[in-house]
Amino acid sequence: MTKVEAIIQTSKLEAVKEALHDAGVEGMTVLEVRGHGRQKGHTEFYRGREYTVDLIPKIKLELVLPDAIVQKAVQAIVTAARTGKIGDGKIFLSKVDEAIRIRNDERGEGAL
């Protein structure tokens, strides 16, 4: 099992969700987050004063997937979330030891 954490532009959530469904992903957790990478945010003006907003709103998707569909899912996210500009986000993959379904204590990939 692999955990996929994808940080994407807020405007790309719908497209990524659709692409993941097409790739056979059945569940996901979506979080509204703030952060910055190398680009360091943008500037805003209020009554002539400049403010740097360095923590920009982003969407973070968390999915735990059977290894068989991980690459397909990652490709779906990359294709759907890409605009080609700075700030498109990142994807992190990590191994997951165990999954447990709370309803019936089912274990392993069957619980996903």
Partner: protein, 476 residues
Amino acid sequence: MAKRLVFGLVLALTFIGPRMHAQTASPSTASSGSASAQEARIAKLEQQVADAKGSADNAWMLTSSALVLMMTGPGLALFYGGLVRKKNVLGTMMQSFAMMAVITILWGLVSYSLAFGPGTGFVGGFHNLFLRGVGAAPDPDYAATIPAQTFMVYQLMFAIITPGLIAGAFAERMKFSAMLLFMILWSFLVYDPMAHMVWGKGGLLNASLGGRFPCLDFAGGTVVHVTSGVSALVCALYLGKRLGYPKEAMTPHSVVLSFIGACLLWVGWFGFNAGSALAAGSLATSAFVATHFGAAAAAIGWSCAEWIRNGKPSALGAISGAVAGLVAITPAAGFVGPMPAIAIGFVAGAFCFWMVAKVKARFGYDDSLDAFGVHGAGGTLGALLTGVFAASAINPIFKDAQGNVLPSGLLEGNAHQLLNQFVGVVIAWVIAIVGTLIILKIVDVVVGLRITDDEEMQGLDLTQHGEEGYSWEVTA
């Protein structure tokens, strides 16, 4: 069918009725006794015409009173509330709302008498304490066609919003108790004397009731905006900056709230300025039109300046510009036509942008919501420009002993008026500075002005009122 028949009958009677009456009355016109009867009828008719005019004026003045109250709540409360951070939204709105309650009571007990009762050139006396003698009969010195009580309640709405404006300077850091005490003392020591001087019977600066320096201030450029704006600057300097200013970003938590507030202020301002005609006649129309054109031009003026300097015209800029224009046109509203109003508004919009974007940054004071930059600066500019553009064709306020109309402003050749305006502005500045400093010192000693650093980090809502403006609970 039956309804239509009845309607026709009534119509017929209304036409025939007077004619029958005229026929029966005509034979007796020759006799001498009927002349006095006719005079009595004319007198009765005149009384009815006066009553009708009184009702029309009163309707407009009561409407205006409600409009001006709307400027404080929700107008100013939303405008300021949106500009602060989330944790201070209720505390800031309460600063406006508290004025609606507290100043109202004070006005009834003492303040109306101090501002509009007979007294010296500087302040009224105790003649109208507890609103004694302020009833249904008009006070011809102020407004001959409306009940004195209407005049009283209309002026009360001005007394409410004026201290409310100052709150923009000490936003996010003043104790609620200190704010209340400050506002009460300020109302007595600064507002009431200033209102008396400009508008009260025998006031030093009163233009229509023979003041020593007749300063043209139609709806409160000096009385409301210069006094509150300058007092705001004094407060900002005395209290010091907010924790973390200017290093930390303190951006408005909801420009949307401010937007609604500013638009309500714009609408309410028609009551403020056009209502200051104290009647429903053509002068009210003139002031209404000047107000609207001034606000529109100022929104454009600020936006242009911002667009050129920062590359984008912001929504906050546009609404701030409109408010600045409304401030600047306030003293001029009943003295200038639409075209000078556009000029005053446009200049005020650009000037106030420069004040808040450049001057504030240069000197580093934390006038948090720009009460001085908009009201102090815009009010001063407007008061002086009133002396330039005032036109006797709009409002023939100055007359010689024979009743001939004299020129009003600089453009009509009355250069002296600019000096009178300057005197009015200087007096407003001096009263505001001295009065506010004394009051701040008293409040500082009695209850302490600022909340603690810890409370400031938690916000006014929790520490001063024990509640929060927004619920962030995940569960319903």
